[in-house]
């Protein structure tokens, strides 16, 4: 079961986990939650804005989930990615992977976030109380072997 959502509204991490738990979890669940970080704290980050390319973003997330599903024999996989203007500490991305074996759940989850960071068409813009900046791609992300 693959579940992909791209949405501007906040997601309820608790509820998503509960759904997973209700789905008769047989084994290991690994979750990754990424939130808005205030990296410009001298200036004060007011909003993080996320722009995206809708059709392509959905396609890339689905392909990513399908790859992980096959490679690590997942029984469930959820990816939620937000767009729009977010506040500091608001969640941006949630990835949940479930498998019989914990190592696979960890590997699959990390693969998804790594792959997404370099392939999914989302862009972040930071709005501080002084000005706005497009976030530069983290070169470290490109060095990760997928």
């Amino acid at each position: 079961m693959i579940d992909i959502r791209i949405q501007s509204s906040d997601f309820n991490f608790s509820k998503e986990i509960k759904n997973f738990q209700n789905n008769k979890i047989n084994g290991a669940v690994v979750c990754f939650l990424g939130s808005v970080r205030d990296l410009k704290s001298e200036e004060g980050l007011e909003k993080l804005e996320i722009e995206y390319y809708p059709k392509m973003a959905e396609k890339v997330l689905e392909e990513t989930a399908r790859k992980a599903f096959k490679e690590w024999n997942l029984s469930q996989c959820l990816i939620i990615h937000r767009f729009g203007k977010l506040d500091v500490n608001e969640p941006i991305v949630l990835i949940i992977t479930q498998t019989k074996h914990r190592k696979d759940a960890f590997r699959a989850n990390e693969f998804i976030i790594d792959f997404l960071k370099i392939n999914a068409p989302f862009w972040k813009k930071e709005h501080t109380n002084k000005k706005s900046y497009w976030v530069e791609q983290n070169k470290k992300d490109l060095d990760i072997k997928i």
Binding site: G34, I50, E51, Y52, Y53, K55, M56, A57, K59, H81, I92, V93, I113, L116, K117, I118, N119, A120, P121, F122, W123, K124, K125, W134, V135, E136, Q137, N138
Partner: protein, 82 residues
């Protein structure tokens, strides 16, 4: 051909999309970039000075990709989601 732009590149170019009829000799992404650089110096500025990626019909492609069957080309900066 419909070309769409995102994020910083959208801002520099100053529009979300542009429809351009390419001449017949524009076959690859590379040809298209050369054409656009001549077509308008704002493209010259973007392609010379910024990192960018090209997607044809929602797939990332290389510079020698043949665009003859492409319906929508997207030009955007390296992605920063997640």
């Amino acid at each position: 051909m419909k070309i769409i732009f995102f994020a910083k590149i959208r801002e520099i170019i100053g529009k979300e999309e542009e429809n351009i009829a390419f001449p017949e000799n524009v076959r690859t992404v590379n040809d298209m970039l050369s054409f656009l650089k001549e077509y308008n110096k704002i493209y010259y500025n973007v392609f010379e000075n910024y990192d960018f990626l090209i997607a044809c019909d929602e797939e990332l492609v290389d510079m020698d990709y043949n665009i003859s069957k492409t319906k929508e080309i997207a030009i955007f900066p390296p992605v920063t989601g997640g």
